[in-house]
């Protein structure tokens, strides 16, 4: 076990010692070991690299490192070779030998390089890949450089220097002032200024105070907090300790989802290592400041991300929001002043302390400073975690970083902010992304989910999806949220099923208004946002469903029929064989046709029909043409 560091100087000495043992020119093979790449088998790939380096007798010439999430999850397993930062994508265990050989001979292995889908060109250096090139990874960037299970990697990069600076040279008030001055706003959803929250906790009288990390990330499609917690746990921890110092708390908690096992594991290791080095616990770095941290694993309730619900859960009670007219900053866990911030907010704090509030304020827009990590998912070419300076436009994120819409389809909307957010249409794509601009559009920043939707997405169905999600994730305590959601769910389901009634849209608006006004917590008051924003920007789609029984995106099953165009069908038997309902008739040489009585609108025929025939068409809102007379043969014009 290492000696506990008893001063800022000792930390610097340790850092120098770690660096002196490292050769920055020595090749390092970094294998992304975040949960995304893990599902692609990064554990196996990592072991293959270790074995291969050993087998080729290169152990003292090449380092192999399992790192935090790199963010380009779609291309997993992602492997980067330092110092040149050559990026290999979709790496499998059988590729290890060749990669190691290439590294040993200072060569680039062409076949595993990233191919730009736009230009078709191969790109060797990670920094040149458009997905990375257009990002500013000040918070997330360290992930690829460190093994999250080794505190020494974090220290080597300057880790805990902000804590050492604060404890040795700054008063708690000075730390608070710096955070206030930076105008860092909460990255978890609300965008409330972190410094103001800290100050309220600090100024509330009391000997016992708490600082808590909210890692109860639960928005569908969002996973930046997971990747940061599992990929760079010490950055979150350092921010938390700094907060404790500033507000006068000596106990911290990290509330982390049970569904994030790697985050839980890496956090526990991080806590233990920080404690061993004297960066946590009693008399941190010899400063006299004590701070302990416990982890609390969430039992999978989305609503527990709400501050008062989260604190109830930490106390061992049901995770339900309470009346919050007295802030949790004043009366939180066990009635004590408690500061709660999100993972990303805490991870940003050490940077602010090190580089100063002015540096932080130089990034971003007038009211939203710094960067924000988004999880860019859905129908874009490049999906993954992207960190951008506030103020970048949605179009830049989706097209420059995301590489545009998948399969050359048309963009339709982008959902931001998860179930509390909304859907933003094409005409607002040039909006600079910041807290206030997104709220003005009827959406919100939320924790940073960004789900891109193409022309095949039905906006009524999207609204129904989020309402469904919340019907199961609301706590059910207050009537406007619980019963409002239930009614919205019934109405939206009816509309999707072609059973919408005149007046439904008025009822939706009436219910939504009361939910906004009267719900107990923010989950309820924002729950109608996905419905209201789609109603605002895509009202015609709702009306088509209700009045014309037509789904413009041809997505809603009850309103969509499938039909085989007899002039295009080549009787290839593929749809006939694949139809799970046995609804496709015809045979060898006979034009296929769909028995509408049997058809379940599953869409398999549409998906399997070879693109060169393109014979299956979707029909909505119009009658399906009658099938050709029984036994009509294919006339093979092309062969004639």
């Amino acid at each position: 076990m290492p000696n506990r560091l008893s001063s800022a100087e000792e930390l610097e000495k340790l850092r120098a010692e770690i660096l002196s043992k490292r050769d920055s020119k020595k090749p390092t093979i970094a294998i992304c070991s975040g949960t995304g790449c893990e599902t692609y088998g990064s554990g196996v790939v990592h072991r293959a690299f270790l074995q291969e380096v050993k087998a080729q007798g290169l152990e003292d010439k090449i380092d192999v490192r399992a790192t935090g999430c790199h963010g380009f999850c779609e291309k997993g397993v992602v492997v980067v070779v330092f110092p040149e930062e050559i990026s290999y994508v979709k790496v499998k265990q059988e590729d290890a030998a060749e990669v190691v050989e290439a590294v040993a001979n200072n060569k680039v292995l062409d076949r595993l390089l990233y191919v730009d889908p736009v230009t078709g060109k191969k790109i060797a250096k990670e920094a040149d890949i458009p997905f990375y090139k257009n990002q500013s990874r000040i918070v997330f960037g360290a992930n690829k450089l460190i093994d999250p299970k080794k505190i020494e990697d974090y220290i080597a990069l300057g880790g805990y220097s902000a804590l050492a600076k604060a404890l040795s040279k700054m008063s708690p008030e000075a730390v608070l002032e710096e955070v206030k001055k930076s105008n860092l706003r909460g990255r978890g959803g609300g965008g409330f200024p972190a410094g103001t929250k800290w100050e309220e906790t600090k100024n509330t009288p009391g000997n016992i105070k708490y600082a808590v990390v909210n890692c109860d990330e639960g928005d569908p499609g969002a996973y930046m907090d997971r990747s940061l917690t599992e990929g760079n746990p010490h950055s979150v921890l350092e921010g938390l300790i700094l907060c404790g110092y500033a507000i006068g708390a000596h106990q911290g908690y990290i509330y982390v989802r049970q569904e994030y096992p790697l985050a839980v594991e890496n956090l526990k290791i991080a806590l233990q290592q920080a404690e061993e080095y004297g960066l946590l616990g009693k008399n941190i770095l010899g400063s006299g400041f004590d701070f302990d941290v416990g982890t609390h694993r969430g039992a999978g309730a989305f609503v527990s991300g709400e501050s008062s619900a989260l604190m109830a859960a930490i106390e061992g009670k049901t995770g339900e929001p309470r009346l919050k007219y007295i802030h949790t900053a004043v009366s939180g866990i066990k009635g004590r002043p408690t500061n709660l911030n999100n993972v990303e907010t805490y991870a940003t704090v050490p940077l602010i302390i090190n580089k100063g509030a002015d540096w932080f304020r130089s990034i971003g827009t007038a009211e939203s400073k710094g960067t924000k990590i988004f999880s860019l998912v859905g129908k874009v070419n490049n999906t993954g975690l992207v960190e951008i300076p506030m103020g970048m436009t949605l179009r830049q994120i989706i097209y420059d970083i995301g590489g545009g819409i998948l399969n050359g389809k048309k963009f339709k909307g982008v959902q931001t902010g998860g179930p509390s957010g909304g859907i933003i249409p094409e005409k607002h794509l040039d909006t600079p992304v910041d807290f206030d601009a997104l709220t003005d559009l009827g959406s919100m920043m939320g924790s940073g989910g960004m789900v891109v939707m193409d022309e095949d997405t039905c906006m009524v169905d999207v609204a129904r999806y989020f309402v469904d999600f919340l019907c199961g994730e609301s706590c059910g305590k207050c009537i406007p949220c619980r019963e409002g959601l239930r009614l919205l769910q019934r109405i939206l389901t009816d509309i999707c099923n072609g059973e919408g009634q005149p007046g439904d849209l008025d009822t939706i608006e009436e219910v939504a208004e009361v939910m906004v006004d009267a719900s107990l917590c923010a989950l309820g008051s924002t729950a109608a946002n996905p419905v209201l924003s789609t109603l605002k920007y895509f009202r015609d789609e709702y009306e088509a469903h209700i009045k014309e029984k037509r789904c413009p995106a041809k997505f809603c099953k009850a309103l969509t029929s499938y039909y085989i165009d007899p002039t295009k069908c080549e009787a290839c038997l593929i749809c006939l064989r694949n139809c799970p309902a046995g609804a496709v008739n015809g045979g060898k040489g006979l034009i296929h046709w769909i028995d509408q009585e049997k058809c379940t609108s599953c869409g398999v025929c549409f998906d399997v029909c070879p693109p060169r025939f393109n014979a299956v068409v979707k029909i909505s809102g119009e009658p399906v043409p009658p099938p050709p007379p029984a036994g009509t043969k294919v006339s093979r014009k092309k062969e004639a």
């Binding site: 009346l323 019907c471 059910g476 207050c478 009537i479 406007p480 019963e483 009614l487 719900s519 107990l520």
Partner: protein, 212 residues
């Protein structure tokens, strides 16, 4: 003596002790705010939102639950605006279908529905919920826990699946000592009507077995 807090409720100047809620201050001043899930012996809960009022501070108006909102110097409260009437009416209409018994509601709920012009069956067909005769106000749950001191009744499930259930062994003991209180706190009359005085049909075991 403590310094009193001055506020205005429906145009009337009201003095309240610090720490009091707006609802308490209003009641003391003889101003009636309708409530449903409030009970004098229980901590404010804020589930029904019937007691919503408009609170104006520094020119900003927001809707708050008066049962839990603390009085503040200079606060301006309005208890019966069109916005609030709309909330009360819709809340009652939303919760109505599951509160009915044979298409009707009784007790406190009936009174509130009449006072607020709420059509209890407005969404009955659309919501198509089982008539539970329960609006999940939590009065029985909270009274049992906070006053009786034995949590024999509890909530299970989340969101629209939320239910009240009894924990059979505990509940038998609690109710053996008299169950008038439970009949009394229930605003829909469910407990009085559905219990034989010693036992309830809807237990945690039924919930776990998927019968509820």
């Amino acid at each position: 003596m403590e310094e009193m807090v001055n506020l205005q409720i429906d145009g009337k100047q009201v003095k309240a002790r610090p720490g009091a809620t707006v609802l308490e201050a209003a009641r003391e001043a003889g101003i009636k705010i309708p409530t449903l899930c409030v009970h004098e012996k229980l901590a404010p809960y804020g589930a029904c939102r019937i007691c919503s009022v408009e609170a104006e501070k520094n020119g900003k108006v927001k809707v708050v639950a008066s049962c839990g909102y603390p009085v503040e110097e200079g606060l301006v409260v309005r208890t019966n605006t069109p916005r609030l009437k709309k909330i009360r009416k819709l809340v009652l209409e939303l919760v109505g279908p599951q509160a009915t018994f044979e298409g009707q509601v009784g007790g406190e709920l009936r009174k509130l529905a009449d006072e607020n012009g709420a059509d209890i069956n407005r969404f009955a067909a659309r919501l198509a919920v089982k008539s539970q005769r329960c609006i999940l106000c939590g009065l029985c749950v909270r009274y049992c826990d906070e006053v009786i001191g034995s949590p024999a009744i509890g909530f299970v499930g989340r969101g629209i699946e939320r239910r009240v259930v009894f924990y059979p062994d505990k509940a038998r003991k609690v109710f053996a000592a008299g169950m008038e209180w439970a009949t009394e706190v229930c605003p829909t009359g469910k407990i009085g009507a559905e219990s034989d005085g010693t036992y309830f049909g809807f237990t945690i075991d039924d919930f776990l077995a998927g019968k509820l």
